[in-house]
Point group: C2
Chain length 267, copies 2
């Protein structure tokens, strides 16, 4: 990891006191309203990673996007709700001027060698090399090299799609090596499934995002800055909300993360 | 809903002050160690339902099982982290003698009529009527009428299964009508997937559970005490942890909830 990369700059946090850290939104990671949700998720995870009393590696992260984060400084308050022998439960609140904007819970734990099996099956798709880079003109999108295998961001005159599934290869645009924070950010890389189903742009925003980290730190390190494959789909759209489930695999087919979210939409 | 049912007794909470409620574990809902995780999830959700300042219906629930809950009294501290016009974010902590045992975040929101589509496909299976009731001899299991379509709780001399998928019909044993709390409890009804894959019993416990509620209150009410179909599978087992994703449908094929968890296991 190099501190000069814009991902690391966005994750830069300074201690305020024993329970608080201060960060600042970074223009490279701006979305349409406030920062990209993935960078907020990554920052919250990184806040725990920085804690000297932290035990183990990330296992689970839930981020609740309660209100838009304004450009500028924010505070992250961290509380180790429970420390066990092999895992640790955290509660985090991100606030600006005393207003809570985001809440999160995280579980970190020690990984041990056990029976293992990867039941997920990475879709058989063409490699990233022959595909075009694409994505909407938003600052955070430019931080990634996204190559869509199936159902890219819909054009303005797009037809509705019968399937909500998007599959893409993605890596950091500057090939910064993947780590838990980067994987947390990539978990939120899929544009809202309602755009695809309805063929166009509709107001939409993630309300709550949960990511389970399957890979261990060594496994992530071995990927370096290579592409990973992400595939996302929705289950049900109703009453102004839909869910999304997604999986992220290494090029060799190993499942790195399972990630789920519930999204608000209009239309 | 009738207060005389053991589900409602387990959810009985008394206000302690403006931010705290007190409950008590109920022997009917005991698991091997502490209460069934589903009843804890339901109790936390119900605590918010009881709040006079609560807005809307449950959309998302994440419960982190930080430590076993001992038989007896527990306190639930609730904090409305953020109240918006159409939704509300809650943080909850369940403690015993000042020790945090469970944390949770919940999002409640107002549902509005929008474009809707159910992309999930309920598996085509035989109805519950011709199937046998089964399940391991645990108090909480007796509170349900479970009829397995595929991969019931493995016998002691079971062979390992190549698939981690279990599908079952389930209803409350006394046909208590389904509501959000009951659906939250049913989200945790699937025995640990490692039992199935390895063919036997292994120490295992849910660490974090997330449920997204797709159905609205009216839709749930129309189901009454009828069976719902649940189907669960795992994606990856490694380093002592695995994830599970499950879906719960009404008999007419409507997806009621998507639910996900990460589980600790030995073996």
């Amino acid at each position: 990891m190099t501190g000069s990369h814009s991902f690391d700059k966005a994750l830069d946090l300074q201690p305020v006191d024993d329970t608080r850290m201060r960060g600042q939104t970074h223009p490279d990671w701006a979305n349409m309203v406030g920062p990209f949700g993935g960078i907020t998720a990554a920052t919250l995870l990184h806040a725990v990673e920085l804690r000297p009393d932290r035990i183990g590696e990330p296992l689970a992260l839930t981020v609740n996007f309660a209100a838009p984060i304004a450009d500028g400084e924010f505070d992250i308050a961290l509380k180790p709700a429970r420390t066990n022998r092999t895992n640790q439960h955290w509660i985090a609140e991100l606030s600006q001027d005393g207003d809570i904007k985001t809440t999160a819970t995280m579980v970190f734990g020690i990984r041990r060698d056990t029976w293992s099996d990867d039941e997920s099956r990475m879709p058989t798709v063409t490699g990233p090399e022959g595909l075009e880079v694409s994505g909407p003109p938003l600052p955070w999108v430019s931080q990634y090299d996204m190559r869509f295998v199936e159902n890219p961001f819909p054009a303005e005159d797009a037809e509705p799609s019968e399937s909500s599934r998007t599959t893409l290869w993605v890596r950091d645009a500057n090939e910064r090596g993947i780590d838990f924070a980067a994987l947390a950010a990539m978990s939120d890389i899929f544009y809202p499934r309602v755009f695809l189903r309805r063929g166009g742009f509709f107001p939409a925003g993630t309300i709550s995002l949960t990511t389970y980290f399957h890979a261990n730190g060594q496994e992530l390190e071995s990927i370096g800055g290579d592409y990973v494959l992400g595939s996302a789909h929705a289950n049900r759209f109703s009453d102004g909300y839909f869910d999304q489930s997604a999986h992220v695999w290494a090029r060799d087919g190993a499942l790195l993360a399972s990630t789920h979210q519930i999204v608000y939409f209009k239309g």
